[in-house]
Symmetry: C2
Subunit: 353 residues, 2 copies
Amino acid sequence: MKFNIALLAGDGIGPEVINEAVKVSDAIAKKFNHEINWMPALTGACAIDAVGVPYPDETHEICMKADAVLFGAIGHPKYDNDPKATVRPEQGLLLMRKKLGLFANVRPTFTFPSLIDNSPLKKERIEGTDLIFLRELTGGIYFGEKGRKDDGETAYDTCTYTRAEVQRLAKKGFELAMTRTKKLCCVDKANVMETSRLWRETVQAMERDYPEVTVSYEFVDAVAMRLVQWPNSYDVLITENLFGDILTDEASVISGSMGLMPSASVGEHTSLYEPIHGSYPQATGLNIANPLATVLSAAMMFEDAFGLKAEAAAIRAVVNKSLEQGIVTEDLAAKDSKTYKTSEVGDWLVANL
Amino acid sequence: MKFNIALLAGDGIGPEVINEAVKVSDAIAKKFNHEINWMPALTGACAIDAVGVPYPDETHEICMKADAVLFGAIGHPKYDNDPKATVRPEQGLLLMRKKLGLFANVRPTFTFPSLIDNSPLKKERIEGTDLIFLRELTGGIYFGEKGRKDDGETAYDTCTYTRAEVQRLAKKGFELAMTRTKKLCCVDKANVMETSRLWRETVQAMERDYPEVTVSYEFVDAVAMRLVQWPNSYDVLITENLFGDILTDEASVISGSMGLMPSASVGEHTSLYEPIHGSYPQATGLNIANPLATVLSAAMMFEDAFGLKAEAAAIRAVVNKSLEQGIVTEDLAAKDSKTYKTSEVGDWLVANL
Ligand SMILES: CC(C)[C@H](C(=O)O)[C@@H](O)C(=O)O
Ligand SMILES: CC(C)[C@H](C(=O)O)[C@@H](O)C(=O)O
């Protein structure tokens, strides 16, 4: 098969980790007789520096033409802590999500047996954790009307959801639950928010179409607690944009494998695959960043965007092998053991595929 | 001294835990020569059952006359999971917060050495944790305009903040930081929300009035992560209502002492003291609920509302003694050791004051 993949390396360590994912993807393509046409494009701080906007039209066109988008990370400290900055890298991210219609952010949290001791949680709490959040990504307070009144003394943000938006996301949740343990948790704040009440009543009405799925409804504050107490009690969780932002990040640290977590953003036009970690500016150019989350995001891309299960399995297998053999960057290395550079890990993966 | 204390026992286990806090408070009053006039009043599901509304006017009048309010818990399962219920116990809570002007919810998270092994987190992660959230409690999306459009197909909630609201809460945060390690963390989502940008710029402008305080600004998603990774890296945190709801609950489970955490809601007219746990309906009437969070809330009341430090210290000392000696309810009891009833714990505290 032949694929066009938009390659958005972004800022900070983005280009370094993307580089390794490209090496591994090319090796897989060669092995399985596929052809990949990489289409690099600018986004984030590097796009602001180059052309003044964080998600240029040319980049959008490339993404729209692509069969999938592979994304690194964006963000640069020079744009932080300035509430009045008018152009920010994050705006590029939001614009991209909206323009590509990336409505469902798929965020798995699972454990690697060899890394379980890295977790801040006790082993017995975290063992067997294998959950997936579906975060709504193009609605809610992120995209509602916002602004100032009273000479800037009053600020407001609006959270809006339509029934159709909830249905679209919830449908993915029910379908995913059907392929797993048939447990679905709808996370909301229906005791306070009207949008949450719309979420809850919409999901309740969909239950009859999926009689095998057991649905629970939990408040976001309760989920924030139980994620730390009993993460392995969850399977598929669906939630709105802002709750998803907070809870998926919370979930990412419980496994001890945060540096390895991939994600997908499923869209109307195309889908995007990216590591969940940020641009880690302090490490830029040092060749020390862990590339595995990006490599595993490429595996998700092969499986979900192209339907190539064997290719994805081959990538996951070689990643597991590298972990078992300790071919890891400094963040994962056991005390006093050898650490490998970003590019060395990538080379090892390619050689051992 | 003589105090009028409004006593809002509420629902579920509320009356049982309140009962023990009253016993301990009365014993303290006797010992230190104070006089307490308890003024019981209805709130929550029991108020709906009795008079049709969850925060009756009579209750409000009693609270307004009181020097402090001691609160149990509210909520009853018959009102849950019904997004269309028109009267809900939680509405009483929100109305009470608004009418009493309870703008700052003070939520400490600390560890009890004897309970540290109950934490889902590893000991080395949690040791030394001693943080306080100040959650804004009368603004934000809880109280903004909300409703439906398009025949109910679109729902919206509005989050609003004024500069004055932010200043009032932040002032408390700076003042509290001055009495502790002079570290203040402002939690927001300034990369997305206009209200967060107002929060950040308002707090930034106040920094010059407190030159000794080191202020950090962190995004809510990052805080949700770091609370699990390094809770002891925080001291005082200030945040808006909804973020505070999620993060304070998350923080409450990390110490392993969730059943013991007290809280205060500081108001314009009077202040309210309550355990952070809920109404735990399944345990109602069984005399098994842990009364210590409510007893420690009474200690906060003696110290903060009445300025009586010795009285508060005496309560905390006897609570520590009960923990050390294992005079605890079943939730805290070591395996195979004797457990005590709610009222037995209270009796023991009174006898050992
Ligand atoms: C950078 C920021 C706008 C973004 C978000 O809040 O969605 C990020 O935290 C994420 O989760 O991808
Ligand atoms: C019951 C609910 C409305 C309330 C809130 O969200 O404020 C509760 O979760 C709390 O934190 O006191």
